[in-house]
Subunit: 501 residues, 2 copies
Amino acid sequence: MKRRDILKGSLAAGALALLPKGGAQGAPQNVPSLGRRYRNLIVFVYDGFSWEDYAIAQAYARRRLGRALALERLLARYPNGLMNTYSLTSYVTESSAAGNAMSCGVKTVNGGLAVHADGTPLKPFFAAAKEMGKAVGLVTTTTVTHATPASFVVSNPDRNAEAQIAEQYLAFGAEVYLGGGDRFFNPERRQDKKDMYAAFAQAGYGVVKTPEELARSNASKLLGVFSDSHVPYEVDRRFQGLRVPSLKEMVQAALPRLAAHRNGFVLQVEAGRIDHSNHLNDPAATLWDVLAADEALEALTAFVDRNPDTLLLLAADHATGVGALYGAGRSYLESSVGIDLLEGQKASFEHMRRVLGANPDAGQVKEAYRAMKGVALSDEEAQMVVEAITKRVYLPDSVRYGIQPDNTMSWAMVQKNAQKPERPNIGWSSGQHTASPVMLVLYGQGLRFLNLGLVDNTHVFRLMGEALGIRYQNPVMSEEEALEILKSRPVGMRHPEDVWA
Amino acid sequence: MKRRDILKGSLAAGALALLPKGGAQGAPQNVPSLGRRYRNLIVFVYDGFSWEDYAIAQAYARRRLGRALALERLLARYPNGLMNTYSLTSYVTESSAAGNAMSCGVKTVNGGLAVHADGTPLKPFFAAAKEMGKAVGLVTTTTVTHATPASFVVSNPDRNAEAQIAEQYLAFGAEVYLGGGDRFFNPERRQDKKDMYAAFAQAGYGVVKTPEELARSNASKLLGVFSDSHVPYEVDRRFQGLRVPSLKEMVQAALPRLAAHRNGFVLQVEAGRIDHSNHLNDPAATLWDVLAADEALEALTAFVDRNPDTLLLLAADHATGVGALYGAGRSYLESSVGIDLLEGQKASFEHMRRVLGANPDAGQVKEAYRAMKGVALSDEEAQMVVEAITKRVYLPDSVRYGIQPDNTMSWAMVQKNAQKPERPNIGWSSGQHTASPVMLVLYGQGLRFLNLGLVDNTHVFRLMGEALGIRYQNPVMSEEEALEILKSRPVGMRHPEDVWA
């Protein structure tokens, strides 16, 4: 990348991306300023969270739980706005480019962590915060080495190189890492047989793998890895008895350890599997992961209330699937029934597939849907699921609905009663990420009259910098340069059919 | 309705609707205040407009038109927030209940105009404005008697009684009515053979039916009816030569007439067919109606700039369909192609159906898609369209995708190339309204630091009242009372399969 790109950078980043060259009117940038500094910064990312997800969770909390979401209270009363999420060359981002935009303040090509397409590394914000003495924590429901947390601390051209990212984490030396991903730490699971648990323990980390160990540990530095891959969904933790900590429990383990540092801290919390359940078109898994995020949010706002020198920044990185409660019945008068019907859904498709195994018959499928989704499938629908699992026959198609067999498992239970829903009247536009602007909310003392408006996701970097008094500029790549690089070599991870983005 | 309901009303409206009884924590209400008064009020409603629609239009304007939307500039720089849209008993609203919430400040049951389910009439805001001497205007791309404009001026238990609403309009006596709906004014089309055109002319209105008549008229009061039913989509006006005024031309006819009144005015402008094209899952029709709305918005903001005593309130009434640009290609790197491919779409499904007639063959269908949608259908896809039009065979189903045969016509051209889209990679969650919160934006002098946050749609009534200094309270019905009434009698219009809501 040439120096001139760096120089012309600060204006080009974000605002002008995707604008044709020559005579184009620049998009208006809103550059809201906090107007004050903070000692601690908490960034809470809802991965793959759309406004339709919000509406469903808001309604479920009100109708079935008799309360308002903590998120509803924040949206109503504290500064919030919308963020554009597109990456450097694609109007639909994936999570690493979205993470980079927030963490590094510049647009990148989809697929790499804190790095440009030509290999130019970027400095992630939490690395800069560590340099100035802040303690660092990462808490997530995905593998702890996944794109959204990783993009805040390390640089790697391949977001899927999670075994390597585990080593980068050790070298980075954050105070708290909590999430999933045993396969990237366990010597029996890693290709290179390295024992990353032993290496972290040697570096002074308490290493914990169960909720009990997490609760008992008094280590000041913590590596918690609670599952082989991603941490199971909240719906399965809550109703199927899977023994992992909740997101709130992880947050509650992280906060006192980080708060003990006299120079303050930065913490990223990620409700990472909202994205996954939306990829799968799994309404109950999304709902309960949003509700679990809300409990974590309660804990975080309570911490901010007790520690007013803390800024909480809440953001979605992009929307996924856009599962929408749609109008049902005459004059849409039966629409709310779909909210109530979610109460009968007690497991994720992920868990159902584990239970069903590789060769279920139609009877087993029907029983699983009855017990875990509260839905009575027809013979035809059950057969659709059997063929998706056993023969890779996918419906309605495997492009738009590319996360299979799960998207077919969702399709099988679509609501078919036009008068009164007997299944949740929720539909998905696809099994992929989408382009809509997403939420940005700030919570902290002295913020009441901040007008966020519509900002670019790169503006998160500037808000974080202002909060902690950290100022630097990562090199900017132009869209044209990136497109030129993309022409000459294949890039990108496997197709989202195989890997969630 | 009992007096006590009116008394307990102001707290119950909106905030508590859909909360279970007893011990429920009230939802937090944000009650932002303008802090100043205005002489004129313009309410611009984007009917059925989702954040996914916004993202696609923003990208199309930047990539293909080389400019930023006026709406993007407003969202970036002026106070904006989100609105909850649910109606009194349904988490998914239709347009009359959404219109009532804004116009009357209270939640109602889906289906009636400025009226409760027990027949209690409500006073619409524009009726109150007229009482205090404001001139009134309604400009829309739907039938001028449609739910969203009508809910601001008249009360009627049946939103579909448009022939009767035309008579109510005459009695109401607004200064400007512009839109579609000849069938409700023309004596040859009305069942009762009344000549509403003659009646309006006798009451002093200039009556115009073409763009030329609209441009030539120098009448101070105006009834413009430009089509049999709804005004054709912008995409058909622009590329298929349909001879109707654009929304901007209607706005430009309305503004000087209203501004001539010395007591100021209230004007509702509706981009009403964004909702319809979203019901149909018609991406180009939605795009161009959003772009046409943006041109009208430019004209409106220019008026506000010249007349700083004017408040412009911009709102969506609900989302519809949620047609989302979804990630395509490896690492989603091909996603933006779908935006560019929209350039080849030059007609709506509505127009295509007119051209194809009732008995098209597969060859005619292929040619129509090629010429008007820029898409080469396969034989199988063309046959799907033939059977939908000629035999009412609908895919994928007629509940979620209930607007037929159009939803099948959309389904036929779904993107099927996983590597690189050859058709727009846009998918719909359904053909119905959805539950997500929608946009609310204010534009006017002295508003820079207003924090709108998340509000209820009933708050629009309070903002309008504050703007013009009009204070009154419509009677409130409880959700319980409404549910009791709904039990005892059938209500609602025809199923949304037959009538767009």
